[in-house]
Symmetry: D2
Subunit: 400 residues, 4 copies
């Protein structure tokens, strides 16, 4: 057992921390999409800088990416989480492109890779993943209503999706769409995933959905999509028919590590802001930093961050050593605990800032929303708790 | 001891509930300020309907208003809280105008009443209250940096204010401004309040502040204001020099009752939405309404609402029977407990709605933000807890 | 709506507070049962004093008792809760005798009243209520395994009960036993209640059960009982066959008011101890009373007590005005919220006392155990939450 | 970074798990001290078995003990925590002897080692550590009132101590006593530690203190001690005069690892009991194991245990690699988070057991008390939070 980072990780951390100081934090103040949907122009400058600094596609194992393990990439994802609207995009490590690239790298045909993976790896286009639907509890994949029906050499897609992150960005050129090819098949082989280019007739990007008032315009918003007899060639199928659920499971593991480590970074940022605020404000003649309740928040935040980070790192280590399946409990555990933990910490940082903490003058309100929505994304925490509990109970079923 | 409403209150409740059904809820879907700052045109229609229904200025005791006691108005404020962006404004019972009208009715000169109270009571103009400042912990009134200096027959005002609710609305014509007339006086007589019309030279409405991404444009946003040698006649002083702190304390009591009862209404709305959602969604083959965790949320919500409402009603009763001072502990208690309680309930309602709960498709995200910011408004909860604890401890000081 | 006590209640409160000061608190230090099971001799002195002070059987409405309403008795029960091991017993207002006396007064035959109610009202004997069983989830009355079978003019009882409070006390002369007379009947008419004198052959008081290490010897412990072909005459039936569940429901309402108000009194006692301790201890050069975290505990405790008390009083008022059934939600609500609230408060008082708070040198550890066990008594909180949630949901069932 | 145990640790774990199954769990049912103070006779059998199994003094690094690192011993301490009243004592790894042996091994003279360390290592005597005092906040060492005054070749000790764990056991032969040799010296060099044999004249073991009703008689209780002109030779000084605080700090690090890992074991035991209970009880026609709220408890428990264990293991690793000082934050962090976490888990296990969970029929109530009291032992959590917060804030002091 050893809790130290290896040399390669330390080297990347050092370079990434320098990149944050030199490029990312200075870009924060003016980073707004304006009235449009998509990042401000400075992102291209940042991407170029990241590429030349060797900090590009760090998330992707294997030949197509930086070749890091999950355990090596995790602490880097944490650092990008300190500025979550900018750093992941600057390093071409932003969701949902990361998951889409992983899926294409693992399950894509050569042609699919050439057409979509290559520009995604180059950072010239963006992508989206269309799974969630407005009318059903999407945490249960068998609820999916979107149909993908074969008609000769084509698939015909009909349905409605919402909260499709990034889809409002006009540069989001390709959608991976989850739908049912065979509603009568067994529970987990009803679904398939197909590639749908943005300009396919019948596909309408209807509107952006807000999250607690934010449009998230600078990373392409969250769109409601309508698929009305959308036709794509059968070669746009990813993997095989009925493989949609399995593919979406495969992307979950790394995605949760990424999300959770970025959340840890957000928590560190919030704690840093809470501390500096507490040292600088003096209501009623005493610095906030000497108020017992504020100290309690700071101590609790530090302790909870340390606990949560270790659990995410262990989940990453398990994924690297025993695979997604062996890491199942830990992957669910981090999904359950990290968003709520970080939400709690950011809430306290906001409280220490007074009204300013809720405004555009600090990153805190946006960090809070990011943490809060991750209690829902990929299924609400409650679904994961129930599942984890059942596995725990199964250990004792034979003995009673 | 009697927990029933009196006949007059029951009559008002009945009529107000009907008004909500007939006028307010139907207006919710399209209620947006568009790109401007201020309410949509339909508000004028609603105001006319409220006037003709005898549901106007209900908040105001005495000759100028409906003449209700705090205990009688409280359950009506709760009902308006079910649609907090519309109902209070429709009934001319919205903050900060309510507090400003109370102050003018109690402390204003005849001329001040003629010029500002009358149009406010008529609902033809709006107003704002400029106290909070960006550079200091505003929960401590002695921190106020804005200066109000006498120069002959005028006051000269210099300073910066922020989070001034309603001030972005062009129809907000008058500001009550808190500043220091004598920084060297005793702690609570340094401050004065003066009336500053919107178009006074030197006053700049600089920008709107967001709250968790919301501009709150439809009720006039939250502005940052700059006062640069703003001059008003000395007759614009409210009450007397040095009386600013006392006046602001006087408005706090009723204001907290109003805020807290509206919060109770928001919680009831959220609980209703949680229940109807839980009955209509069936992930994994079982209605949410039969999930133990969701039932736990619903039961906890009901119990917490019942507790909180009783405490607010008791605080109102104490204000009516023994005055602001005798109700001090209860007024602080409701400020401490109600926002966090309602925040918790709305959070659970959001969780039961999945991603939709965070979007513009339900009122929940906006309700959450309203509850969250009231943990900060009028001073963070922590300041009030400390103060309440000291009074509790004082009961035992002589005995040890 | 009126939050003041009536004159009769105020008079009783004054006299009871004087009785506590004069008789109860001074008796606390030496109040131990020694090695036996039952109260120390001083209790008889206290009972005599209570009788002569007109503070006897206050819990019981109607001709047999003081004739107070639930709303009038509730604040008196609170006061007795400040010294829960002594005051209720001194006033002949201690569970489970109170519930047993209520049942006998309402459902008992004249002979049953003569034989058992009279000495209980006189305080010459004690009693117990035998419902909970070791092998089943007793919150579900249909689980009860004890059989009460008619055999000629007798009932034959077989079964095992545990956690039967008071039963170790040799002066506990009579048990009300719940069992099934007809296991095949409809769900809520399978059970009956019969009177079983302590010395009936076949009844064994097996052992005392501890609660968190306490034997509760001074109020008769919590016994495991074995009924092995215990025979009683059919005239020992209370009410009618199959009426056991209904009778036990009838006793629940007042019992919960009593328990919850006593808990409020315990919380007030704990808060008082927390405050006096905080004022007297000065670790690290600063009184505990000036530590922000301790102030936070004190403020939270005060606010939670005020909320909880109002809810219990409202439940009592509803019982008096619309009956047990109309007060159903509130009676469940207080069972759900009061024990956990008081547990929280006592925990903080213990923490402020350091190790001494867990020892016999303060009443706190015992108060904590009393609150904790009431999260389980009469069914775990979770059962009541589920039930309350279902009723809340039912309000919306028709609308979806 | 590597989250796997090394081979030696795995070997010890396997053997210790077998020992638990073969010897410890079977001894649980009858393990009571009866009316005396001290363990039942079976403990000697268990100790012999542990010795012959090579599971003896595992806690002690270096030549005198098993020579394991903190990181190696930690998972073994966890296992002993599954039966905390028996296993640690059986393996001669029980507090406070472990800390006393560490202190003697590190700071003791040869003669002190011969006389006291040898029999302690052999398990023929027990010991106690007398620091806490009844009249002061003992978390602040400068508050200590006990005097140790030199008089020729002797030290004269006067003072009162309480909550001295193990001291009621007649076989507790030696006390390490903390007192002030120089009250006028600098804050942390006022204190010294001296060895005081049990039978020294002037030393009175006054009484046992209960913890939530438990006497803890089977491990020697918690005594109040009076030192009235107790005289010991100056050669009984441990280390040097004024070194008492430093010595007590040295013992804290390993002690917290031991305590926290045993707590993790207790939590695992409670979770196991909660699961088996949930699978076996079926109130209202549905197993507890299928109740959403119970599943929530189980999932939360598993996640919290995983987090807490990793943090304790990291603290152990830091102690081994960078020393007590470098591990300061983590050692405080585990003291802050582990007891409250485990208390929460055990509380839920109790709730799942109903009344039985509070009784002597399960180990749960005693486990709860063990966790609860560790929120106070070695100073209340709040003191550690404040200290940790200050160090966190110090990181930002220069930057503001």
């Amino acid at each position: 057992m050893d809790f130290g980072f290896d040399a390669q990780t330390e080297d990347y951390r050092k370079r990434l921390l320098a990149f944050m100081d030199e490029h990312v934090y200075p870009a924060e103040a003016g980073y707004h999409s304006g009235d449009g949907w998509g990042p401000p122009p400075i992102l291209e400058t940042l991407k170029a800088a990241a590429k030349s600094a060797g900090l590009w596609n760090l998330f992707l194992p294997g030949e197509h990416g930086a070749g890091l393990t999950n355990l090596q990439y995790a602490p880097l994802a944490e650092i990008t989480g300190r500025s979550p609207a900018i750093a992941p995009a600057a390093l071409n490590c932003a969701a949902p492109d990361t998951g889409n690239m992983e899926v294409l790298a693992e399950f894509g045909t050569d042609e699919q890779k050439r057409q979509w993976l290559t520009p995604l790896l180059d950072g010239t286009i963006r992508s989206a993943f269309a799974m969630t639907e407005p009318q059903v509890a999407s945490s249960d994949a068998t609820n999916i209503g979107t149909r993908i029906e074969r008609d000769g050499d084509e698939y015909v897609i009909n349905g409605r999706k919402f909260y499709i992150t990034g889809a409002m960005n006009p540069n989001c050129r390709i959608f991976i769409v989850m739908g049912k090819t065979d509603p009568d098949a067994a529970r987990h082989v009803q679904q398939s995933q197909v590639l749908v280019p943005r300009d396919t007739p019948g596909l309408t990007v209807e509107r952006g959905m807000t999250v607690f008032g934010y449009t998230d315009g600078d990373h392409g918003g969250h769109a409601e999509l309508i698929f009305d007899n959308v036709r794509v060639p059968v070669s746009n199928l990813i993997g095989e028919e009925g493989g949609g659920f399995a593919i979406s499971q495969a992307r979950l593991g790394p995605g949760r590590i990424h999300h959770c480590m970025r959340l840890i970074g957000m928590a560190e940022r919030a704690l840093e802001l809470m501390c500096t605020r507490a040292l600088s404000r003096t209501p009623f003649g005493k610095p906030l930093a000497e108020q017992g309740v504020v100290q309690d928040w700071i101590a609790e935040s530090r302790v909870r961050i340390e606990q949560a980070r270790l659990l995410v790192l262990k989940a990453a280590w398990l994924m690297d050593t025993v695979g997604n399946k062996g890491a199942h409990t830990e992957i669910q555990a981090i999904k359950i605990i990290v968003p709520s933990t970080v939400e709690w910490i950011v809430d306290k940082a906001i409280q220490a800032h007074g009204a300013a903490g809720t405004s555009q003058d600090t990153p805190l309100a946006a960090l809070w929303v990011a943490a809060r929505t991750l209690r829902l994304a990929d299924g609400p925490d409650e679904v994961h708790k129930r599942s984890l509990a059942r596995r725990e109970l199964n250990r004792y079923r034979s003995t009673t």
